[in-house]
Amino acid sequence: MADDYQSDSAQEAEITARALLQRMVAGDEEAAGAFFAMFETAICRYVRHVVPDISEDDLGDVVQETFLAALRNAAQYRGESRVSTWLLRIAHHKSADWLRRQRVLRRFLAPFTHREESLSPRPRVAGSDEADPSADALAVRMALGKLPLEQRQALVLRYVMGLSVEEVAATMRLKHRKVEWLITQGRVALRALLSSEE
């Protein structure tokens, strides 16, 4: 019953998202605003996990580029995937672009700057075995940032964004097997990183 409800709700959300996209194509500013409101959190969630140390301003830039690209390409949306998957694919590319730019920037600015970690896990109480959910969440997000990009993206899409392996493969434009391998490898690496920090 709950599944039915969730499924109905997801279907309604998809219908709404597609309707908003159509109105965006016609240049409806309100629809663009509503579309943004509908997917803002999801996109922020994705970007923050793929780029854990991103600043608030840079996050705003990546999200803005994602939604502007969605607006400009709304007419090209063919409905072959869910709107959210389509939008995530855009966010996926924009995040990758941002990371690429940052890499280049860092290479040039390395001699002049000292990079500080913006995220640090809250120190665990010594001797305490009890898991603190917020500390774990922060630790896992920080550890994600140390994984190779593709593994990170695959894990985030699968476990943070809740996509199926097929949807992850479609979003990343990779083969199903490759995505499975990335997820397995990512889990092993992430577990090792988190265990070593305990």
Binding site: A26, A32, C44, G60, V156, M161
Partner: protein, 411 residues
């Protein structure tokens, strides 16, 4: 002693990673209010820009499509289409109108400005207006000479339409079987292996002159065979008439309107009616100066003896059947047998240089040892040159060809 086992990490617990990731997902919120407002503003601005773009993009697309279409059509009109070869090529200066043919028999013409044409292939349907002397050479070697102003359209292989002006047609003997025809508004001329001229006088009238051979002429009101020395008048409203041509007599080395010779025997050539008599008149007094007779093919070649001095000659032809042509316009013939005056005033030598001073008849060409020397308006000359040897030969040649010599030895 039992070995102590390494304590397992809590991250090894089933679903620990998934739980932590899901927890992390739940803890991430959206943008800060400032960033959210910024993104919203950007989206609103982009929406407005898109709306603007959408307004003119369709019009631009239609415009672009139309531009591409017109470009394609223009290129096709300029360079596309087919041209049905007539086998003829044109040489001379003319304004050409090229015909192109597209699918479904659609035809169009490309008007070109007056320009020199060298061996340009004429296609069926092409038209040209001669701006100078124009020659059209047909595939069988026949030649058409279009006088300036003649407007000709190519109807097909060996078929032309003369809309205006004058066209001389020299049809090659080997084209006897091929045939040739020339149309005018007034009528049609068909021929095999002959020389004839056609002259369109106006929209309703044309003249045909047969200079050699036989030309079949047809109008709406009749038809006739026009033979050498005859001419036909083709009209849309009058019956076809055939009469003897005014003879066109070619005088050896003659200019069209004035002949200057240094002999009393004048060489004449003409194409007349077969066995017709050419009567030469003194154009001033109307006296008969002499007569000559054409052969069975109408070819006339003979001499006329004239007295010395200026003569006006006019010609008429008289056919064996008694028909007589109109008399030609008189032509001036000057028989000048007097050598030009030449006086050598001084010949002096200084080393290899020789100076010659003298005077010749006005208009005479003076040569010293074969070299033309300049003379002034009175015919005087003063010329210095390097002499090889010791003989100086001076000649004066008048326009009629009479020559006076003077030979001087210098030391």
């Amino acid at each position: 002693m039992k070995p102590t086992s390494q304590p397992k990490s809590r991250w090894d617990a089933p679903e620990a990673l998934e739980r932590a990731l899901a927890e992390s997902a739940q803890r991430v919120e959206g943008l800060s209010p400032q960033q959210r407002a910024r993104v919203r503003r950007a989206l609103v601005a982009e929406s407005a820009a898109l709306r603007q773009r959408r307004r003119w993009v369709p019009a631009l697309r239609v415009g672009l499509a139309l531009a591409v279409l017109s470009l394609a059509v223009s290129l096709y009109l300029l360079f596309g289409g087919t041209r049905a070869s007539s086998g003829a090529v044109i040489d001379g200066t003319a304004a050409l109108r090229e015909q192109r043919q597209g699918p479904l028999g659609v035809r169009w013409w490309l008007d070109q400005e007056v320009r020199p044409l060298r061996g340009f292939p004429l296609a069926v349907g092409d038209e040209f207006t001669a701006a100078g002397s124009v020659t059209v050479t047909l595939a069988d070697g026949s030649t058409l000479f279009a006088a300036p102003g003649a407007h000709v359209r190519v109807l097909g292989r060996n078929a032309f339409f003369l809309d205006a002006g004058e066209l001389t047609n020299v049809i090659a003997p080997q084209a006897r079987e091929a045939g040739f025809h020339l149309e005018t508004r007034a009528g049609l001329m068909q021929v095999r292996g002959t020389v004839f001229r056609a002259h369109v006088l106006d929209k309703n009238t044309a003249r045909e002159f047969t200079d050699e051979g036989i030309v079949s002429v047809r109008t709406a009101l009749g038809s006739a065979e026009v033979i050498t020395g005859e001419q036909a008048v083709l009209s849309t409203s009058q019956p076809l008439t055939v009469e003897l041509q005014v003879p066109r007599v070619r005088i050896a080395s003659a200019s069209p309107d004035r002949v200057l010779v240094n002999t009393r025997t004048l060489q004449l050539q003409a194409f007349l009616y077969p066995r017709a008599t050419l009567i030469a008149y003194d154009g001033q007094h109307g006296n008969v100066i002499g007569t000559l007779r054409a052969d069975a093919g109408g070819v006339l070649s003979g001499t006329l003896t004239l007295p010395e001095g200026v003569q006006l000659l006019a010609f008429e032809q008289l056919a064996p059947d008694g028909r007589r042509s109109a008399r030609s316009l008189p032509i001036e013939v000057v028989v000048d047998m007097t050598n030009p005056a030449l006086r050598i005033e001084r010949v002096s030598r200084s080393g290899a240089q020789v100076r010659v001073i003298g005077q010749a008849e006005v208009g005479a060409v003076v040569r010293i040892n074969g070299q033309i020397v300049p003379t002034d308006a009175r015919g005087a000359f003063d010329f210095t040159f390097v002499l090889q040897g010791d003989t100086v030969t001076i000649t004066a040649t008048d326009p009629a060809g009479n020559i006076t010599f003077a030979v001087q030895r210098v030391r």
